[in-house]
């Protein structure tokens, strides 16, 4: 045997290949860098992001929308209040059914055309056209569904929206079909579109290139569309006519990562991008090198027991109390969720709003066992399968749920399992009539938003069980109505406190914990501001002042 020469061909080929690779490398390294004054971010990462979405038809992504368009009102920087943005002032009549808004002086579109109240009215009519094709009408409903004549207009029974009247170039009047003491808070996702530049029909809303085409796009925010590569990035250029002044940045690039946080984090650490959303477990290793942005996200991560729909075992409140007592939620939030989560007594995520006398169910396995005995329920007969929302399928929540399982088995509840599923599967089993007993997912509760009060009612645009809050216990409708009707922040917060107390007493579902969300930014960016807002805000981030050194 003389096999020595047999491999000559293969090795020669290999060498040629290596040479090709080397050439490719050299070429690549010589590629031009980005212009100065350019900031590359992953703004559309995390639960508040929605790549390739357009305003008025997205479940998230407002961090990007608000760079391109201004809204009448907006959340302030720390999400505690809704403040004027495109408007200068507002007033309402005594019963809060007629609201008059005055636009700021001298607002211009990015092409230099003045912005008037007619643009505002045009946008309202456009979005309520019966054939408007937006596939996620949530923001449309939030902004316009309480305006008189909304139903007639969207159904095609009326030519125009009865409740909207342009008084003059800077003044517009809204007539509502029901009183709303905080109507201005309904307008924070009302992205005004330019009447003179919109060259597509409502029916083409989803298919038009207008929102991504630099030659057609006209906006009013600090930035305008400059370049777009689908699935790769969106480059925004400075809007010279932005009313707060031309942005310090020449370019704001939004890189897309297909929703994968590990990929975005690696890009951050490789210095390819300057900012991204990060998960709680990454924070400790990033703290030293990066500016960390976080706040209580206002997202309650909770499970809900459909006890009134599916399983009789949970109809006894003592069983539900026993389950809360059996799980050491403080140990889980502290040790497993890295101290970035805290356990909560009710679906109000803000500790300062919890009433002093709210019932909390601390870790007490003996109490859990005795409660189960009192209820006459054999823990071995309880069967639970928690179905998790895919958005939480990460190390931290997998660990937390395995801990829940271990705690439950300590009181004899051995038949517990969990799994994470994709969104359609989750939704299909989730809605009323769906066949799943328990869900594990989160929900955004803004500190002061118009929609909060309506989350928990069975009627109206927000209710009908779609959010999961189809509480039918006594008193919930009244408590939710009180939140909606609160005329001031203080009254609103007090109503939230009452709701919290009622929830903790009746336990229509079991609230687990609420977590911080985080963003990490390169410290070379100055004036940068980011908040992990539910669905991305929008909030005042003063992007026109952001700068890179």
């Amino acid at each position: 045997m003389s096999p020595r020469n047999g491999n000559a061909g293969g090795i020669a080929l290999g060498k040629r290949l290596l040479a090709t690779t080397a050439v490719a490398l050299t070429l690549g390294l010589a590629g031009p860098a980005l212009a100065d004054g350019s900031l590359v971010t992953a703004l559309d990462m995390g639960p508040g992001g929605d790549e390739d979405s357009r305003p008025w038809s997205s479940g998230a992504g407002h961090t990007t929308h608000v760079k391109q368009f201004i809204t009448p009102t907006i959340f302030n920087a720390d999400l505690s209040e809704i403040v004027p943005y495109a408007v200068e002032s507002w007033e309402s009549n005594d019963d809060h059914t007629v609201w008059t808004y005055t636009l700021r002086d001298g607002l211009l579109w990015s092409d230099g055309t003045p912005m008037t109240a007619n643009d505002w009215a045009f946008t309202a009519e456009f979005m309520t056209a019966p054939d408007w094709a937006g596939d996620r009408p949530g923001d449309r409903n939030l902004s316009l569904s309480e305006v008189a004549g909304f139903d007639a207009k969207t159904a095609g029974d009326a030519d125009s929206l009865e409740g909207i009247e342009v008084i003059d170039d800077q003044t517009i009047q809204f007539t509502l079909s029901a009183p709303n003491p905080r109507h201005f808070a309904s307008l924070f996702r009302f992205y005004i579109l330019p009447e003179h530049a919109v060259d597509f029909e409502p029916a083409d809303y989803m298919t038009t290139d207008w929102f991504r085409d630099p030659s057609r796009f006209v906006g009013s925010g600090p930035f305008v569309v400059a370049d777009y590569a689908p699935d790769e990035y969106l480059t925004l250029g400075a809007n010279e006519n932005y009313f707060q002044g031309r942005p310090a940045l020449d370019e704001l690039v939004i890189r897309y990562f297909g929703g994968d946080q590990t990929a975005a984090l690696l890009a951050l650490e490789a210095d390819d991008i300057d900012f991204t959303y990060v998960t709680e477990t990454d924070v400790p290793s990033l703290e030293d090198a990066y500016d960390i942005f976080s706040n209580l996200s206002g997202v309650v991560v909770m499970t809900r027991f459909n006890y009134n729909l599916v399983d009789d075992a949970f109809s006894d409140i003592r069983v539900r109390q026993a389950i809360l007592h059996a799980i050491d939620r403080d140990a889980i939030t502290e040790n497993i969720l890295g101290g970035t989560y805290v356990s909560i007594p009710c679906p109000i995520p803000y500790a300062d709003l919890w009433p002093q006398d709210v019932t909390t169910y601390g870790y007490d396995p003996e109490r859990a066992t005795s409660l189960l005995q009192e209820a006459g329920v054999d823990p071995g007969s309880i069967s639970m399968e928690w179905v998790g929302h895919a958005g939480y399928d990460n190390t931290a929540h997998n660990s937390a749920l395995q801990a829940v399982q271990a705690y439950l088995s300590q009181v004899g509840i051995n038949d517990f399992s969990y799994r994470f599923v994709d969104i359609p599967t989750f939704r299909a089993g989730y809605s009323p009539g769906g066949d799943w007993q328990d869900q594990y997912h989160g929900f955004g509760v803004p500190r002061f938003g118009n929609d909060v009060g309506r989350l928990w009612t069975n009627a109206g645009a927000m209710g009908q069980g779609l959010t999961g809050y189809d509480y039918d216990a006594d008193g919930f409708a009244e408590a939710a109505a009180a939140i909606s009707a609160a005329p001031t922040i203080d009254a609103y917060n007090a109503a939230l406190g009452d709701f919290c107390r009622l929830h903790a007493e009746t336990l229509p579902d079991l609230q687990m914990w609420v977590g911080n969300r985080f963003g990490a930014a390169d410290s070379s960016i100055s004036n940068f501001w980011w908040q992990p807002a539910p669905a991305g805000g929008p909030y005042q981030d003063n992007a026109h002042t952001w700068a890179v050194q």
Binding site: P3, L17, D135, V253, A263, G460, P534
Partner: protein
């Protein structure tokens, strides 16, 4: 031969038809639809059941399944693949772009995997049980003993974050449209892809070469005093290649849509990620069209393999 090929092409029609029916049925059976995806309970605040119903009506999701299938089929026969339900983009354009992206990375990856795999396979076959054989075998098995996602993270962590040799994912630097920049982005994911698949080609080549080297005609050729190198290249290599060709054919669908985790970690907009995203959002026009494209590739690869069998080994008759 020509008749055989024509017959196979004609047979492809019922196969493709059956496939689309099956895929459509599976999408139907999967829980939820695209409207459920839009109504993501995490972020949907503000949509009512009536909105969802109106959306279903507008997207035609309320029609009976057979009607929707025939509607889709009618469109495809006229060259219209419809619009993506979640991306609001014509499916044809979307697939063309994503498929092109995938082909770049798969092309490089497959080429490297096949050339190195076959070369090393022959090398190890000729030096069976040598130290080199064990070392190469061991290294190649590291590649297939690790999830692609982890291999990708490790590669990115070492070569992008620590060494800074390559960009950390993506396909191009924003605003840069040069070939050099593109290749710079492609090298790392393509190499990881090829390492994952190289072991397959290597081992098949090795086994099949070992087998062929013992066949009578090879032994005879060697006995007749033909130089070893010539024997290997002219006889053994050609015949030993058959199983390898089969595996290349089989690798194509895996490379096209199986690279989802690799594309994810490299934030590379390819077919795998598109297919995966479409499935988890029930974007059926994209799923159907992507399946059709994949199927055409698989059928073509299988046909080529079968013809290659006959070409390499004249004893096989095509019938």
């Amino acid at each position: 031969m020509t008749r055989y090929i024509i017959r196979r092409l004609l047979l492809a029609i019922p196969v493709l038809f059956m496939l689309t029916v099956l895929v459509f049925a599976l999408i139907e059976l999967a829980p939820g639809d695209v409207v459920d995806f839009f109504a993501n309970p995490e972020v949907m605040a503000g949509m009512s059941e009536a909105d969802l119903e109106a959306l279903r009506e507008r997207l035609g999701l309320n029609d009976p399944a057979p009607v929707r299938y025939l509607h889709w089929l009618g469109g495809v026969l006229q060259g219209d693949f419809g619009y993506s339900l979640i991306r609001s983009e014509p499916v044809g354009e979307l697939l063309l772009r994503r498929f092109g992206n995938s082909m770049m990375i798969m092309g490089i990856g497959l080429f490297v995997a096949v050339t190195f795999g076959i070369s090393l396979g022959i090398y190890t076959a000729l030096r069976q049980y040598s130290v080199a054989d064990f070392t190469i075998s061991f290294l190649s098995f590291v590649g297939i003993s690790m999830p692609a996602f982890i291999a990708g993270i490790l590669a990115l962590y070492i070569f992008s974050v620590q060494l800074g040799w390559f960009p950390a994912g993506g396909m191009r630097s924003p605003g840069v449209h040069t070939l050099g920049d593109l290749l710079h982005h492609l090298v790392l994911p393509a190499l990881v892809l090829s390492i994952i698949h190289m072991a397959t080609f290597m081992r098949y080549t090795r086994f099949s070469m070992l087998d062929v080297l013992k066949q009578e005609y090879v032994v005879t050729a060697t006995a007749k005093g033909m130089p070893r190198r010539i024997v290997v290249i002219r006889h053994a290599f050609r015949n030993g290649l058959i199983p390898v060709v089969t595996m290349i054919g089989y690798s194509i669908p895996e490379l096209v849509v199986g690279a989802v985790f690799l594309e994810t970690i490299f934030s590379f907009p390819g077919m795998g990620k598109l297919y995966f995203d479409s499935v988890i959002s029930r974007d059926f026009p994209v799923i159907m069209a992507a399946n059709l494209v994949i199927a055409v590739f698989v059928l073509a690869a299988n046909l080529i393999t079968d013809v290659a069998y006959a070409a390499i080994d004249p004893r096989i008759r095509l019938e």
